[in-house]
Symmetry: C2
Subunit: 190 residues, 2 copies
């Protein structure tokens, strides 16, 4: 590994936010998965959850390399994903186009947070909505009913990034050193 | 047209921002075009520009109906698109991953504004960059080099929406009544 690459990876790792994550519930279009993992990498989300009943894996080569930098954990059921987030004391938010949902900009994302995104056509499941602490929505002022799911994830993650930057959460490394070493090892030998 | 639909369209038209636009320079993937036009509709962008050298048209049925609500003007050359924006006294911004680019959150989007987005693989052309007043970039803290283009457009447009809401630009109708009548007529007879 060149010193430049080592330096670049060290800078990336120093920005990682282990207590911010997303959960993709049956999002299945490759270009959406790819864009969402890129969003994660861009704001420092290091761990992401994917729920696929048949436990498929993200196909290789779909996310312009971002899946090498973001750890994606697969689950067969949404309960398992939510339990994983709860085990880290996260508030669990679910994106849902409902009247109960609050504006995504009103949430405090400096708290440990996991956000559930739903399937392209049907949105998040009833079960996901029941399990979450809070429904959130991105306000829309036009005629179209919903945004693309990767677009929605970017808007929420960059709002979290904005708040966390202001709160100083990017000022000091927060990912544990064992994981950093693992990434440096794997990333140095692609 | 039902009274409910009429009401819904009137509310949409009352939020339209005729002095905020985007220009898609050779963006060609259908799912990106579709997502970008949905983004426009969602924040109240009423007119959008598309540059395609061979002057193709957006294929029908690609944008879940949003192309009925957002007027897309095609241009053969980027100059023509920029001239159209300049004719409306807009500041012209170009998204570009360069060292000269300033953080997208530092821009004042309450001014009449047009934003150029580049092709999926190659980004904005040299010509677009030369014609624009300012380069802007969305900061990325990871290893991946760029965001998906529809994601980038959403982040910038929602920042504009946030600023414009704060400045009261959504409080009163701003689209001229002739255009409103045209949309009401067409939207009532799909
Ligand atoms: C295309 S939408 C699903 C639409 C579905 N018809 C519904 O009513 O839920 C797919 C996913 O994108 C996200 N999404 C889309 N628009 C959103 C918005 N305005 N606010 C929050 N999330 C949104 C959510 O995660 C949603 O589950
Ligand atoms: C995938 S990018 C093009 C990448 C290309 N390799 C380059 O260096 O420009 C396609 C378009 O997405 C937008 N984009 C992607 N990431 C961006 C970012 N971080 N800031 C601003 N615009 C971005 C720009 O409009 C860009 O032209």
């Amino acid at each position: 590994m060149t010193p430049q690459r080592y330096q670049r990876m060290r800078e990336m790792l120093a920005k990682r936010q282990p207590d911010l994550t997303i959960c993709l519930e049956e999002v299945h279009k490759t270009h959406n998965l790819s864009a969402m993992i890129r969003n994660c990498d861009a704001v420092g989300v290091h761990y992401a959850h994917v729920v696929w009943p048949r436990n498929e894996r993200i196909r290789r080569g779909t996310s312009v390399g971002a899946q090498n930098w973001v750890r994606v954990q697969g689950h067969e059921r949404i309960d398992d994903a939510v339990n994983a987030m709860r085990a880290q004391d996260m508030q669990v938010l679910v994106t849902h186009l409902s009247d109960e949902a609050c504006d995504f900009r009103e949430i405090d994302y400096t708290r440990p947070t996991g956000i559930i995104f739903g399937q392209e056509k049907y949105g998040a499941t009833e079960q996901a909505i029941a399990l979450a602490d809070q429904e959130i929505v991105i306000p829309m002022l036009g005629m179209v009913q919903s945004l693309n799911v990767s677009v929605a994830s970017a808007l929420i993650l960059y709002e979290a990034q904005r708040q966390r930057e202001k709160a100083g959460l990017y000022d000091h490394p927060r990912l544990d050193e064992t994981e950093c070493q693992r990434i440096l090892f794997e990333g140095g030998h692609p």
